[in-house]
Structure formats: structure tokens, C-alpha cells
Amino acid sequence: MREALYLIDAPEVYVVPDFISEGYFTQEVIPRELELTGPTTHVHGKTIHYCDPVGIHPSMTSLILQRTKEVAPNVPQEQSTLFIVGHGTSLNKNSTKAIADQVALIKTLPECHFAEVLDTYMEEAPFIADWATLSDTPNAIVVPFFIADGLHSYQDIPVMLGFEKDEGQAASQKEVFRNNPYQLRGKTLYYSAAIGTEPMMADVILDQISTFDSNHVTLATPS
């Protein structure tokens, strides 16, 4: 990562962690490697602004709603529950905060008409494995809150939802996102790829930079 500053001529740099939440890497490893001491650091002739990770930006809500329209077009929101799935761990309460915050935000949006919006987790209650009993609606739309597709979104969550077996072909070869909808446990389930694969993520990166500029006075005032 320390090579990154040699890539550029620009004297001013914004760093946006492509991470879904705050944690060890965003709070310790990246600052350490880039020798950052605060929101703005002057180091090795450059000014570096360290933004929040993409996953905690409020505009992630737009991506989630966009993704639900893509994965379940023409499915009435009023008859659907939106499940946002995170990893969750009993070791760190902060790991679920980003998702709980997004759920709270989505519920306040005027364009959100879902019967319910629920944060659920792989390894922490409320468990995504209990999706069928967590809501009363006939439709369920499930969006994994991860930066990239991998074992969790290809295999682990599908197994917990009940439409994939914990064996068989390589996880990356499974077409779990292309076989919607699934008829399971008396409901119709729509399953999305990881939210970080949404092309609009590029806009969230830029939003995070705008937010940084709004929250910090970064420009030198001419004397």
C-alpha cells in the first residue's frame, strides 16, 4: 500500500476504503500503512484526506433499493420483506452497526414501501437462516451486505436460506443469483449478489469524498 503514493503526481489525495464497515483494517491497518495521523495528514509532500469506508455512507440506501428493483422487478414492495444480510460476530458489536444503520435509514425513505426491512446476520441473531419465520409477507428479497461476491454470498447464505446444499461444485461456479425466484417454505424468495458489486458503488465513493469535504475544512484560505 505504501507504493500507492508513488503512482501519482497530484499533491492532494483522498483515500476511500472500499470496506463495508469500520473495523481493524479501516481503523488500524490503512492508517498505519499510509502513515496517517488524522482525517487530514501532510506526509511525504502530499496532503492525504482519509474518508470513511463506503459501506457506512447514507447513499448506500439508494444502492440497496436499486438492487431490489433489479433482482425483483414488478414485485410489490407492500407484500415483500427486505432482508439485508451481514456477517455478524459475537466478538465485535460494531460489525453490525453499519447494517443496522442502513436499515434504519431505508425505513425513513419515502420511496420505501416494504412491509418490513430487517437486518439479519450469518453468525449472530437475528439469523438469516430464520428468514421464513422472521416475516409474514409472501415475498422475501435478500441482499448480502458485502463488498464483493465470495464464499459467503455464493454458498454460505444460499445454504442458510435453504436453496443450496453445503457441497457440490465450486462456489464460484454456482449460478445462485440467476435462478430467481426461489419457491421455499411457502414463500417466494429473490436473492441478490453482494451489494458492493452494484455499479453505482462508484458514486458512493465520490459521495464519501463530498461528505469528507463537507465535514472538514480542507482548503487553505488565501491570506
Binding site: R2, E3, Y6, L7, I8, Y24, V29
Partner: protein, 212 residues
Amino acid sequence: MSLSQLLHDAIDSGVHQIGQIRILTQPFRLHHIDDVLSDELEVHTDPDDAREIGLYTESGRYRFTKGELSLKKGWIFHLKSIDEVHQALDLFYPASLGIWRALNQDTLRIQHLREKLSRQTGMYRFTQNISTKGAQELVQKVCGPSNQCVKRILWKIDEQTPLEPSEASEFNGILKDCHTNEAIPLLCQEACNYFVSETRKKVKEEFDASQS
């Protein structure tokens, strides 16, 4: 001077190679150094394509470090400007131009192995326990063209302890006996993350050996 201008001047003065890539001018073209005589190369005009080409080896294995001596063949870039050449080269060999410029300007921040390991945290914190003998062995096991790395090592074990002479420590970052004035060397200013992860294994081996 911008990096693109630096590259432009370097090419003007006779530089035509970096890593496993040959640079041609009028018009700008890039291809694998082992594809000189091939006339069946896939033509690319978007410098961004370099990102995909550099991801996997010929056999489809992921190249976990861009300095790996495993760039696949069979492609040629036809590019419009020096900026596009710069863009493609930075995707093949990220930051290599900037690091070369910093070395020539004496502003490169070289971090010796002990410093690099002492800044590690989490599961890599214990890498700082590696013995000097173990670190020297690891350089010869992990670095250099015989181990698929094409970078010239600039760091030592620590300020007082240079690397022992070996192919890895003596490689100059330039392939195929190209003259030093005609190539941009690939440089290693601090041990890479792969080296750190291998150090972790080595430390465990040393610990296990000390317990038996």
C-alpha cells in the same frame, strides 16, 4: 516533472523495456518481451485492458504480485499517447515509474526488513521474531527470478546487515541482459506482503524447532 513526461524522456533517450514488457514508439506499442517474433498477437487499444491481462498467468493461476515473472504472452497494445502508455504500464507494474523516479531523485523511502516487520500488527506481529539467519534464507527462497520475482531488492535485513550474496540479492531488476540504460528496473523498496506471510510461516518453523 510529471510521471508521463519522465516516461516520455526516458523513451526518447533509448529506454525500451520494463519488466517483461517491451516498449515501442511511433506509434506507441507494448508487448511481451518474448513475443518479439510473433505476428499473431491480440491487439488492444484500451490501456485499461492491462489490468485484466496482468491478473492471471498463461495457465490461469492468479498472479498475486504484479512483480511476478509470469506475465502471459500473446497481446500487443496500440496506444495513442504517452499518457496511455503510462496508464498501461502502471496497471502492469503499479507505481514502478514513480518508485524509479524517487530512486533517481534520492527521495525513495526504503524500509529495511526489521523495520517492515516491526510495524506489523495482528496475526503478523510475531514475524518480527524471525532470526537473521532465517530471514537470509527466506530471501533466497522467496525473492529473485528463480522464485518468479523480477524486482531488484533495495532493502537490507537492517541498516547494519546487508543481504547475503545470491541471485535474489544481486538481481538488478532488468530481464534478458538488457542494458541498464535501456530499461526501467523494477524495484522493491520494502518486503512485500507475500514475503511477510512467508516470514510468519518461517517464524513458526523456527519456534517449533526450538521446542523439539
